[in-house]
């Protein structure tokens, strides 16, 4: 009985640790979408994984692992802004992407515009929209991760997408026309 317990514990811990490392890039992607700062996102992920590894034995249901990890990330993110409220303004973290020769490609332009639009959303809306769209979490999972009621998740998502539509749709309607003359040029 005892041996089984120990064996089980080790297997579960090893499995959990391996999975945590695999989750790194996904956590980073979402953290980056939240704060738009590579350095801060990296720190948050580091902190999240450290906490997760310490608490990995708490995770009973491996299926809930993803939601659990992102809950830790959300807490780290919230703590970060609680700690450094005087030093950093969330609005200051808005995109600082600048046009470089690489961004001339239309794909890069789209990415820059979408990130800028997301950067303009209030923090809560940004978190909901990225958890749903990037990680494919259900509304219930998002409500648990962010510790808000499901109705709030739905209304934030709704407002976020409407705001993004207002910013982005006019941009994309111009695009094909803008591209057309370039293609027709013969000289």
């Amino acid at each position: 009985m005892k041996t089984m317990d120990i064996l089980d514990f080790f297997l579960r811990t090893r499995e959990a640790q391996r999975a945590l490392h695999q989750a790194r890039s996904r956590l980073y992607r979402v953290a980056y979408a939240w704060c738009h700062s590579a350095a801060l996102a990296d720190d948050l992920v580091q902190e999240t994984l450290t906490k997760a590894l310490q608490k990995s034995s708490q995770l009973r249901d491996p299926k809930a692992r993803d939601a659990w990890l992102f809950t830790i990330l959300a807490n780290c993110y919230r703590d970060h802004f609680r700690r450094s409220r005087d030093m950093e303004d969330i609005d200051e973290l808005e995109l600082s992407l600048e046009a470089t020769p690489e961004t001339e490609s239309s794909r890069a332009q789209i990415i820059t515009k979408v990130r800028a639009a997301i950067g303009r959303l209030p923090q809560g809306q940004r978190q909901v929209v990225t958890l749903v769209d990037l990680e494919g979490f259900s509304y219930i999972e998002v409500a648990q991760i962010l510790d808000v009621p499901i109705g709030t998740v739905m209304s934030r998502l709704c407002r976020a997408r409407n705001a993004m539509k207002a910013i982005l749709l006019p941009e994309f309607q111009q695009n094909p026309e803008a591209a057309a003359p370039g293609i027709r040029r013969i000289k």
Partner: protein, 260 residues
């Protein structure tokens, strides 16, 4: 207008994010595909969803300076490689979207080649031009179903939805066209080695000549490059250059867009 009220913004978002119960979704599926305005709204929401995914597919690599270590170097290398692949892909996709090639046209479903060629050729003009096509062709319901999922239950539900849509149009004596575009994980549905629905797809293809399955070449290439998988497709599945480009082309041509 009444339908617009019936479906709140929250409901449409939940539809887009697949958060509805199966029977609720099936009902909404048919309603939305028949209502142009609802369709446009769903399409726009879907676009927002895709854009967010697109924008963060490759976030910038974390700064290397702070904690140098083997793991970090590896991660940076990985991001670097991913970024260069992304750049090449970006150029390819960008060119493809702005420059539809004859290659692409030849891949279009045989029965409607003329329609496709004309729509592509007009480059930017709305295909519903009364001076060009006949009125019947313009009214033809055309639905693009985008599959990016490999969940068996959802795929099963999707095939049910597609079939009910096809049956609906057949009973209504409407000559509809439905194109199922498969990319990402969705490609599994038409891979000969992985598909659990080979027989069902074959039956559907036999029964409905107006149904086409189109697999994304980019996904096929990526599977080969990253996982060494040589994809074999089910019989009758056509190949398109890029799933995303196809969706944008079809939307420009006025097709309804639904994702599962």
């Amino acid at each position: 207008m009444s339908q617009e009220k019936r479906f709140s913004d929250e409901f449409l978002n939940a539809f887009v994010d697949n958060q509805l119960a199966p029977e609720e979704k099936s009902r909404a599926f048919v309603d939305i595909s028949q209502d142009q305005d609802l369709n446009r709204q769903v399409c726009e929401l879907r676009k927002m969803h895709d854009l967010v995914q697109h924008a963060y597919r490759e976030p910038p690599a974390p700064p290397a300076a702070k904690n140098s270590g083997r793991g970090r170097a590896r991660i940076n290398l990985r991001f670097g490689v991913a970024a260069s692949v992304l750049l090449v892909l970006g150029i390819a996709v960008g060119r493809e979207i702005s420059l539809p090639t004859p290659y692409r046209q030849s891949l279009a479903a045989g029965a409607t080649t003329t329609e496709d060629t004309a729509a592509v050729g007009s480059n930017g003009t709305v295909p519903a031009d009364p001076a060009r096509g006949n009125a019947q062709e313009i009214k033809q319901p055309r639905v693009l179903v985008h599959v990016t999922n490999d969940d068996t239950a959802r795929l099963n539900q999707a095939l049910d939805d597609i079939e009910s849509l096809l049956t609906h149009y057949r009973h209504a004596h409407q000559n509809a066209r439905i194109e199922v575009v498969l990319n990402g994980k969705g490609l599994g549905l038409v891979r000969a080695d992985t598909s659990k629905f080979a027989q069902r797809i074959s039956q559907l293809q036999k029964k409905y000549k107006n149904l086409t399955f189109a697999a994304c070449q980019n996904t096929i290439d990526r599977l080969k490059r990253e996982h060494g998988i040589v994809v074999r497709l089910l019989p009758g599945v056509t190949v398109i250059d890029s799933g995303m480009a196809e969706i944008m082309r079809r939307q420009d041509q006025g097709w309804a867009y639904l994702q599962v």
